[in-house]
């Protein structure tokens, strides 16, 4: 004990000096500088029902999210009141306005996206906003067609599954009797396609000179190696989406990312077990993404994560064909949840209904950027 200091005073001083190292910022009551904050939006793309996720009977499918829920703010009612299709749902999340454009990616989102508001408002560079999406129709998701905004302020868009499909197709064509069983063979083909250019697989990557382009390519190539040599048989587009997202975070540390997982759309194939496996895989990959945030100095204590399903799926009772589709418009299709986690996010839960269009407004507030007119409003509970 130091002379002249009581035990109580010592503990208080020791506690104060240790606190910044062991307590999260929300517990220390610090407000985070919005200029430092990063936002990652994770969508359970393809659609998932409450009953297979946060309903009591579904919790065993999402052990990571169920474990993270007490550490974040949980919106029990997050409603998709728009068109129950993939492109329009995600575009509504990103624009803050209900979208009614062509759902197969032949039209860009109507009105500026969050990426455009962020990049223009914060004068952020082209490597500071990314979409990594398993759904190939999301090629035009990165920016609106608005003349005042649009592509110059849009996000890089990477579609890992399209790369995978093209590579596997080439391997099967060149070596129909077995090339696809050889991971290295597939790996080589993935690299070959990347070397030929991104546009062929529908990607948009803003290039800023030869050096950066090479940097991007090396970054993406590293993620392919992680994917191919991972512990699991690489059957999933979402696994590749995760590895590419992680590599982009490590190399470019963008402040705004949309990660769109998509494997659970396998439900359209009519296999409930494959759908459940995809839900659990998405939970695991989302958990791994959270682990990366916690370990990556660019993101730790600076990042807010908003996790939500793009849409639900039809209910089991009186629907067209239950989990296979998402067209009935019943509550099982529309009523979902949102989990907010990370820097500056209070713990708690609410029954208050929020909507998909509130996500862009909330993310913009978190990033400290102004937006144009949005029908969504910021979720005050986490600001």
């Amino acid at each position: 004990m130091l002379p002249g200091i009581t035990k109580r005073a010592f503990l208080r001083l020791a506690g104060l000096s240790i606190a910044p190292r062991i307590l999260p910022s929300w517990l220390r009551g610090e407000s985070l500088d919005t200029n430092q904050r990063r936002v990652i939006i994770v969508t359970f793309g393809g659609g998932v029902r409450y009953s297979e996720t946060f309903a009591s009977e579904g919790l065993h499918n999402i052990p990571r999210l169920a474990g993270l829920r007490p550490d974040g703010f949980f919106f029990r009612n997050c409603v998709n009141a728009g068109v129950l299709s993939h492109f329009n749902s995600t575009a509504s999340i990103l624009t803050g306005n209900w979208q009614r454009v062509d759902d197969f990616g032949f039209q860009p989102p109507s009105g500026p996206t969050l990426f455009e508001y962020y990049r223009k408002g914060a004068k952020a560079g082209p490597m500071d906003a990314w979409i990594v999406a398993t759904n190939k129709s999301f090629a035009t998701m990165g920016a609106s067609g608005d003349k005042l905004w649009g592509a110059p302020y849009g996000a890089n868009v990477v579609l890992p599954k399209q790369l995978l499909i093209d590579a596997v197709k080439d391997v099967v064509r060149k070596s129909p009797s077995g090339g696809v069983a050889d991971r290295e063979n597939v790996h080589r083909q993935l690299e070959t396609i990347l070397a030929e250019g991104y546009e062929g697989v529908g990607w948009t990557i803003f290039k800023a000179g030869r050096q950066l382009d090479q940097h991007v390519r090396e970054t993406l190539t590293r993620s392919l190696a992680d994917y191919i040599n991972g512990p699991e048989a690489p059957t999933s587009g979402d696994e590749l989406t995760f590895f590419i997202t992680r590599e982009v975070m490590r190399e470019f540390a963008p402040r705004l990312i949309l990660v769109n997982f998509w494997d659970m759309d396998v439900a359209h194939w009519g296999s409930y077990s494959l759908y459940l496996q995809a839900v659990t895989r998405t939970d695991r990959l989302t958990g791994m993404l959270w682990d990366e945030i916690e370990q990556n100095p660019h993101y730790k204590d600076k990042t807010a994560v908003l996790i939500l399903p793009e849409l639900g799926r039809d209910g089991d009772i009186n629907a067209a064909n239950g989990f296979l589709n998402h067209r009935s418009g019943d509550p099982s299709c529309r009523n979902m949840w949102m989990l907010a986690l990370g820097a500056g996010i209070k713990r708690g839960e609410t029954d208050r209904s929020v909507h998909h269009v509130d996500v862009a407004a909330t993310a913009a507030s978190l990033l400290g950027v102004n937006t144009g007119e949005m029908s969504g409003t910021p979720a005050s509970e986490i600001l």
Binding site: V83, L84, S85, N88, W98, R100, V101, D102, D103, F104, F106, K161, L164, I165, V168, K169, V171, V172, P176, S177, G178, V180, A181, V186, A233, P234, T235, G237, H268, W269, G270, S271, Y272, S273, L274, L276, Q277, D316, I317, N318, N321, G322, F323, L324, N325, R327, G329
Partner: protein, 419 residues
């Protein structure tokens, strides 16, 4: 238009379709275009529906459809976006993307909430006993106590006394005799009885064990494995269409898919235009029917019930294969040819899939007046000593107090159908 029914032709001539809201009338106008490719149950339904609307008080019909018309005005339905006699995916897309879609859908649901009870009452007056048999494959390593858990509360579990020779299990159940007797299946007995409706007995299955017990030409036999040649051609053709013709999206693809008809040498279904078109639609309507055996069984059954309303249905599931690494991302590719990794059965996955399909199939039948209150559902697992029966109280097996022999089950089914 292919030889429309005189009844509907007369109603169209009278201008009935023109008096109805265009979003309603064009949908049905489109549905009746290929009249000769519709099942009799569908043809009868359309005739009854429009005859009912025609004979009803015009003011009441106008009032019934007023909310639909109001929704159309809000949605901006005009001749330009909705031509009077045209219903394509563009119209579906228009509805889906409209901010007032929910209003329109509610208005349409209200229309049918008025019409359906009248049509259902007519149907119920002509009610008859019906039978649905759903068979779980012998390879599934789960006893009857682990099966049908989602629906068991609606029925009664009945103990069975299975034969010593497991290969006689399905023959005894479906024909009442061992396989060696080559006795006619319950479906064949049904269609052989005078006065039965066309397309009244169906077998839908993953393999061809059940179909092998039937040979009457009037029984509908849909077998995933027997359709292997057609499925393989469809996968190749669809891939070619997508690759070579640069088809941009589902709207363009849908038009081309309609041309991929089954050939007579690919399946017996190819000899009947109605069934040939049905098989094409089932395999190409999405939802994994080309790729997964049990999805085919479930979806073909749902569509068969919705469209043909069979009196006797025998449904047989199989075991689904595991998804192969890498090559599985190529949807329209023969996995056995593209990937040398041996095909493996997914037992647990199949179990999970079937449990929910049992519920969906049972619910689907219950949607239609033809089946309510007069249908015996027998869920049976090949080779096991138990089944689940969901049936009206007078179905004889519900009072069984001892394990029932399979030939007795067959006898009860025969009695139930009055064969």
């Amino acid at each position: 238009m292919s030889k429309l029914s005189p009844t509907l032709e007369a109603l169209i001539e009278k201008g009935l379709f023109d008096r109805l809201p265009v979003t309603f009338s064009t949908f049905f106008f489109d549905q009746i275009q290929d009249w000769q490719l519709l099942f009799p149950a569908e043809q009868t339904y359309y005739e009854r529906l429009f005859t009912l609307l025609d004979r009803s008080d015009p003011l009441q019909v106008e009032a019934l459809f007023a909310p639909v018309r109001a929704a159309e005005v809000k949605m901006g339905v005009t001749e330009a976006v909705w031509p009077k006699r045209k219903f394509t995916l563009d119209q579906v897309d228009f509805l889906n993307r409209s901010p007032h879609y929910a209003d329109w859908r509610r208005a349409i649901a209200d229309v049918f909430a008025h019409i359906d009870p009248i049509l259902d009452a007519e149907t119920a007056r002509h009610g008859r006993a019906r039978l649905v048999i759903v068979i779980t494959p012998a390879e599934l390593p789960a006893g009857p106590d682990r099966l049908w858990k989602r629906i068991e509360q609606h029925g009664k579990r009945i103990a069975l006394d299975p034969p010593d020779d497991a290969s006689d299990y399905l023959p005894l159940f479906l024909t009442g005799k061992p396989a060696s007797a080559k006795a006619p299946a319950i479906t064949d007995l049904f269609v052989s009885t005078k006065g039965q409706p066309a397309y009244g007995a169906w077998m839908v299955e993953s393999g061809d064990q059940i179909a092998a017990l039937s040979n009457h030409e009037s029984v509908v036999r849909l077998s995933y494995s027997r359709l292997a040649d057609y499925r393989a051609r469809l996968m190749t053709d669809v891939q070619k269409l997508v690759d070579a013709e640069q088809i941009r999206g589902p709207r363009q693809l849908s038009a081309r898919l309609k041309q991929l008809q089954i050939r007579a040498n690919e399946s017996e279904l190819g000899r009947d235009p109605v069934l040939g078109e049905f098989a094409r639609a089932v395999l190409l309507s999405g939802n994994g029917t080309l790729l997964i055996n049990n999805t085919f069984v479930e979806w073909a059954t749902v569509q068969g019930v919705r469209r043909a309303r069979p009196v006797v249905s025998v449904i047989g599931y199989g075991i689904r294969n595991k998804i192969k690494p890498f090559s599985s991302v190529l949807i329209y590719t023969d996995q056995d040819a593209a990937n040398p990794i041996p095909t493996q059965a997914d037992m647990l996955g199949s179990y999970v899939d079937l449990e929910i399909f049992h519920q969906y199939i049972w619910q689907e039948f219950a949607k239609y007046a033809e089946y309510r209150g007069n249908t015996a559902f027998l869920f049976v697992a090949d080779g096991t000593d138990g089944m689940l029966a969901i049936a009206p109280p007078d179905f004889p097996l519900l009072s069984a107090t001892r394990p029932v022999k399979l030939e007795e089950v067959f006898g009860s089914m025969k009695d139930w159908l009055a064969l």
